[in-house]
């Protein structure tokens, strides 16, 4: 049985797709057969971040409508063994997803995969609810600013009331907090919420802190998940998060601003 993990946030633009790509790639690099599903029907992005946009033939909606089978639809990653992408349809909207269809696809994928990463669309409407409904675990992606924290709080409430596990009264969905675009220097200036501020409000375990990094934008534009670039802080931080997700205990890094050298202090940079 595969473990179904939804990457969600409520708010848009906080790094859900970047995180789905990085975590999915990290899990596959660790030897787990992993598929990343793009639930953002109509606003397909995951294919770009994964660098497979030219290889999309069939999509998620085709599978739901029985117009294609899974093998025709899944795109095999060129860099990592065991990693597959299920693209969303760009020409349809969220109404094309049905609960029965999504369930059928997830059940079929569960037979062969160890991890299914559901990349949720923004918002709290149908698309987001479909993405989280069947989840065993949730990675809540949050930026250290108040509106993102409130939206994450809202989505946590939905996870606790509208997921399959919540409705059937079983074990609750396991929640993880992933803080992205973290800038320790701005936290010290009081311009940004700190890790402990966010933990205090959301009250769920911390999976990782990804520092704000130019490498993330570059990686997105090149279609190569940032976790491949282990020379960058963001890449290392995602690797740490994947290890924690797999049960390893890893100390948190990149939480403090680097000390400025004497020369930088003199020129005020």
């Amino acid at each position: 049985m595969a473990k179904i993990i939804v990457v969600t946030s409520g708010k848009g633009g906080v790094g859900k797709t970047t995180t789905s790509a990085a975590i999915g790639t990290g899990l596959a690099l660790a030897g787990n057969k992993t598929v990343i599903i793009d639930f953002d029907v109509g606003l397909r992005n995951l294919d770009l971040i994964m660098g497979c946009e030219r290889r999309v033939v069939y999509d998620f909606v085709n599978v739901i409508n029985n117009e294609a089978n899974l093998n025709q639809t899944l795109i095999k990653d060129k860099r990592v063994e065991n990693l597959f992408v299920m693209p969303a349809s760009q020409t349809r909207d969220k109404d094309a997803l049905t609960m029965e269809g999504v369930e059928k696809v997830l059940e079929e994928l569960s037979e062969t995969f160890e991890f299914i990463i559901c990349d949720s669309p923004a918002g709290i409407e149908k698309g987001a609810q479909m993405a989280l409904y069947f989840a065993d675990e949730a990675i809540v992606v949050t930026n250290p600013e108040v509106s993102s924290v409130r939206d994450s709080d809202r989505i946590l409430g939905i996870l606790q009331s509208k997921s399959k596990r919540a409705e059937q009264g079983g074990e609750a969905v396991k929640e993880h907090l992933l803080l992205t675009r973290y800038n320790p220097a701005r936290v010290e200036e009081g311009e940004m919420l700190s890790v402990s501020d966010v933990e205090d409000i959301l009250a769920i375990p911390l999976l990782g802190v990804i520092p704000e990094s130019e490498a993330v934008l570059k990686a997105s534009n090149q279609g190569e998940p940032v976790i491949h670039n282990q020379d960058t802080d963001a890449g290392k931080a995602y690797s740490d998060a994947v290890k924690r997700l797999l049960g390893e205990e890893v100390a948190f890094r990149f939480l403090n601003a680097p000390k400025k050298g004497i020369l930088k202090r003199l020129i005020g940079a």
Binding site: I124, R150, D151, D153, R154, G157, S161, A203
Partner: protein
């Protein structure tokens, strides 16, 4: 002996109550005469309780036997006296009628309670998870206890008191059905809005000395007060 031959049951019976705030035998007799004449069948053989609670028995002498016989002459059947429990009841006891006082028949007792088991108190509703933004919790007819925090954009309501052992960042409304004695307690006050019985305060006026500190909210003189805990 068959157990069904005798049964002790509680019951509620409607009776007249004759209430005295002063007593003069002749005037009382005139009063009864005119009452009974107006509706003779209505009063005939009616049981009646004589209420002396409003009568200042230190100032006014009452001949209880005379009072009873006046009633009986006009067709009423006195069954009991009702008087304040802290008065000496020995004179009344000599009449042979029952004496009801507040211990057995007072206002502070619910009707029919003598025959019923006391209803168990409604326990508070307890929420052990954080109340998230967009969620609403309503404890109908009872208190609400929340062991975690109430997030910004969340709303907790109760007909009774609200206790929050985490941080109150959202809205808390106690006494929503009009209980003005309800209170709200929280371990840290960062509330958006606090209301008791419809009287409310917004965070603008809450950001005072108890902000981010333990606080309680209560109504006094129709004004909502905040005080540190």
């Amino acid at each position: 002996m068959n157990n069904n031959d005798f049964q002790l049951k509680g019951s509620v019976i409607t009776t007249f109550i004759l209430e005295f705030s002063d007593y003069h035998a002749t005037e009382f007799e005139q009063f009864l005469t005119s009452k009974v004449q107006s509706a003779p069948d209505f009063f005939s053989h009616s049981p009646v309780i004589i209420n002396l609670e409003k009568l200042d028995l230190n100032m006014i002498r009452v001949d209880y036997l005379e009072l009873i016989s006046i009633c009986r002459r006009h067709g009423l059947q006195p069954v009991a006296f009702k008087q304040s429990p802290n008065l000496d009841s020995s004179d009344v006891e000599t009449t042979g009628l029952a004496i009801l006082n507040q211990r057995t028949c007072g206002k502070n007792q619910r009707p029919g309670a003598a025959s019923e088991k006391p209803a168990p108190a409604r326990t508070a509703q307890i929420i052990t998870k954080p109340v998230r933004s967009g969620q609403q919790v309503y404890a109908e007819g009872r208190d609400l206890i929340i062991t975690g925090s109430v997030s910004g954009g969340a709303e907790v309501l109760a007909d009774g008191n609200i206790h929050i052992y985490g941080t109150l960042r959202g809205r808390a409304l106690a006494g929503v059905s009009g209980n003005l004695d309800a209170r709200i307690f929280c371990s840290s006050n960062e509330a958006e809005l606090v209301s008791i019985g419809g009287h409310f305060l917004l965070s603008d006026s809450l950001e005072t000395q108890t902000w981010k500190h333990p606080a309680q909210f209560y109504l006094q003189d129709e004004t909502l007060h905040v005080s540190p805990l």
